[in-house]
Symmetry: C2
Subunit: 363 residues, 2 copies
C-alpha cells in the first residue's frame, strides 16, 4: 500500500503473543494455544483481516468481560448424526473447534455429522475447520453468521453479516480444493483499504445511508451497507442475498442463536443490536466421510482430474486463466511460513495497545 510501512514478524512470534494474551485473560493453556493457532493459520494463508489483526477485538471483548474465558460448552440436543451445542459465550476460536470435532466424530459413526452452535463468538477463518476435516478424509463444511453489515437486495439497512461458507475437497496428487468465501460482493477489508488510501470503490460494492449506490467508501461506513454478491437485481444480487440468508438461518436460527440484524457486536465499536432473539452468535458445521459415498482413492483421482481440467481452461483475454479455489491461500502460506507475516502500522499499533492492556511482551 503506498505510504504505509510494513513490518514483518515471524509467525511463531505472533502465535506466541496471541497464546499469552489469551492466557492472560484466563483462557486455559491448551485452548489459548488452539485459538492462537487459528489466528496464525489465517495470517499464514494471507487472510490478514482474520489473523493477528483481530486479536485486539478478542482482547477488548475479554477485557470487558463480554466473552467468557472458561466456558462450559454443552450439548443441548443430539441424535446419532446431529448435535446442538451451547458455547456458554466462549471464544469462537475455542467453541468452534469443539463443535467441529463433534461433527467429524459423528461422521465416523453414521457417515455424516451436522452440528449447530449458539452462544458463541467470532470463530476466525471458516477455512480452518474444513482443513481439519480433510485430515480425517472427510469433507468439512463450516458456516457462521456475523455482525450485520450487508443489506439484503432492495434494502437500505444493514441486516446480514458477511456470513462466510467454507468447504474443502481433497486431491490425490494435487493439493485440496478449499473454498472459503464470504457472501457479499466484496470484503469490508477492501473497502477499508480504499478509505485509508482515499480512493473510490467500484460500483456494486456498497450503498450509502439512504440506500443509494455509492463509490465513496466513507459513505458506506457512515451508516451505509455492503451489497450482497451479485450487487443488483440485474446481475443476480437476489442470489447473494439468498446465500447470506441461508447461512444466517442455518447458523443463527437453527442453533437458537441471534440472527440477522440481532447478531452480537464483534468489537465494542459497533452499535448494540436493538433486541436479543437468541443466544450469542451461531455457527453451522458439517462433516461427510468420503467413503460413505464413494471409494476415497477414486474420489481423489477424480478431484485431481477436475483440478487439471479447470487449470487447463483457455484463459480469458488479459488473464492467466482460472485458478483453483485455495490456490492463493496455499501460495501465501508457502511464502509466509518462511518469510514471516507483513503487518501494517495500524495493526502494530493495536498490538502495542494489547501489550499495554495485558503486560504481555511482543518483542
Amino acid at each position: 500500500m503506498p505510504g504505509s510501512k510494513l513490518t514483518v514478524f515471524p509467525i511463531e512470534r505472533l502465535r506466541e503473543f496471541s497464546h499469552r494474551v489469551f492466557l492472560h485473560y484466563g483462557v486455559p493453556d491448551d485452548q489459548s494455544a488452539l485459538a492462537a493457532d487459528i489466528l496464525a493459520r489465517a495470517d499464514l494463508r494471507g487472510i490478514d483481516s482474520h489473523g493477528i489483526a483481530r486479536l485486539h477485538a478478542y482482547a477488548t471483548m475479554l477485557d470487558s468481560g463480554r466473552i467468557n474465558p472458561r466456558p462450559m460448552i454443552r450439548t443441548i440436543r443430539e441424535t446419532p448424526g446431529t448435535a446442538s451445542i451451547d458455547g456458554d459465550n466462549g471464544l469462537g476460536l475455542v467453541v468452534g473447534p469443539v463443535a467441529n470435532r463433534i461433527a467429524m466424530d459423528k461422521a465416523d459413526t453414521v457417515g455424516t455429522g451436522w452440528v449447530t452452535v449458539r452462544g458463541s463468538n467470532h470463530y476466525g477463518i471458516a477455512g480452518y475447520y474444513v482443513l481439519e476435516a480433510l485430515a480425517r478424509d472427510q469433507i468439512g463444511w463450516a458456516m457462521t453468521n456475523t455482525t450485520k453489515i450487508v443489506a439484503p437486495l432492495w434494502g437500505a439497512d444493514r441486516m446480514l453479516g458477511t456470513n462466510p461458507i467454507a468447504i474443502a475437497f481433497p486431491g490425490h496428487e494435487e493439493p485440496p480444493i478449499v473454498i472459503d468465501m464470504a457472501s457479499p460482493a466484496a470484503a469490508f477489508g477492501k473497502l477499508e483499504m480504499a478509505l485509508r488510501k482515499g480512493e473510490a470503490i467500484p460500483e456494486g460494492w456498497a450503498i450509502d445511508r439512504e440506500g443509494q449506490p455509492t463509490c465513496d467508501p466513507a459513505a458506506m461506513v457512515d451508516g451505509g451497507a455492503m451489497l450482497p454478491l451479485g450487487s443488483t437485481r440485474e446481475r443476480g444480487g437476489h442470489k447473494g442475498y439468498c446465500l447470506g440468508a441461508m447461512i444466517d438461518i442455518l447458523s443463527g436460527v437453527l442453533s437458537g442463536a441471534n440472527w440477522g440484524p440481532f447478531t452480537p457486536i464483534f468489537t465494542t465499536d459497533f452499535e448494540e443490536p436493538p433486541r436479543e432473539v437468541g443466544v450469542g452468535l451461531g455457527h453451522f458445521f458439517g462433516a461427510m466421510r468420503i467413503d460413505a459415498f464413494i471409494d476415497p482413492d477414486e474420489f481423489k483421482r477424480q478431484i485431481d482430474d477436475w483440478i487439471r481440467t479447470f487449470r487447463a481452461t483457455r484463459p480469458a483475454p488479459g488473464t492467466e486463466g482460472p485458478i483453483i479455489p485455495g490456490d492463493p491461500e496455499r501460495e501465501a502460506e508457502a511464502i509466509r511460513a518462511g518469510k514471516g507475516i507483513p503487518l501494517v502500522a495500524a495493526v502494530i499499533d493495536d498490538l502495542r495497545e494489547i501489550v499495554a492492556m495485558t503486560g504481555v511482551a511482543l518483542d
Copy 2:
C-alpha cells in the same frame, strides 16, 4: 413479451399431457404421474423454463433411447446417514424423488440424511425436492450439476452448468422461505428472451467465444459462455465460480457421475462432451430433521420473526423493499393454479411436435 402471443392452458391439461407422453415412452404409470407433477409444479411456480417447456427435450431423449424409461435404481453404498444411488440412466424426474426420499428416511432415523446420485438426467426444479422435505418437518437440500454453459472466472470456455442449489425453511404463520437459485449471474432463459427480442443483454452476464465480455446475446450463444454470479473479479465473480464448483463436485464427483465440462447433454442440440469421466448426470440431496437441532415450534416462530423483520427493512430508493426467498414463486402459484399457465408460441410449437411424435392429444 412484445409481438409474442400467449395462450393459456389449465394446469391439469398440461399435467395430463406430460403424464401421457411419459407413459407413451414406457415410463411406468406412477412414475409418469410423478414426473408430470414435477413439471407442473415448475409451471405453477412461474419457473417457465423448467416446466412443460422442457417436455420436448425429455421426449426427444426418450425417443432416441438416450434415457431409460424403466430404470433399476439401486443403492451402491450406504451408511446410516448416507447413500450413493445409481439412477440407471432414468429420467431425473423419476430418479431424483427416489433419492430425495432416501435422504428424508435416513433423517428420520439418525437426524440427517445425505444422498449422492449418479447415472441420472435433468431432474426439474431443485425447489420441488426441498418442498417435499418441508412436508415432513425437515430442512431439505437439493443440488444438481447440468450441461456446461458457464465459464469459470478468468476462463474463456464453458466448463460448468448452471448448477442450482435449493433449500427451504418452514415458518409457523408465515409461508416457508424457499431458496432455489442457479449459480450464474443470470439465467440462460433471460438471455434467450433478449435474443428473440433483438435486445442487448446487461454487462456481466456473458462472454463471447474469445472470452471477451459481451452485451450481444447472439455472441454468447455462438460459442461464448455465461458468467458466474458476481461476473468479474472486482465484484466477486470468483465466489460465483466457487459456488458452481462446489455444487459440481458434490453432485458430480462425490457421486461418481460426470462433472464440469463432461456432464451429459440435455437435448440433442448440444455438442457431445469430449470424454466420459463418470456415469450420467449427478445430484446431491440432504435432509435435516428440525427437531434434531431445536424445538420445531420454536424454530418456526423464529422463522416468522426473521421473515417479518426482513420484510420490514427500510426499502432502497425506487424499490418496495426486500422480498423473502420463495415469495415470487408462491405468488405465481396462487394466480396460475386458478387462471392457468400462459405459454409462448415457441413452446406450443414444441408441444405440437410432441403430439406428432407420440400421437398423444394435447387438446
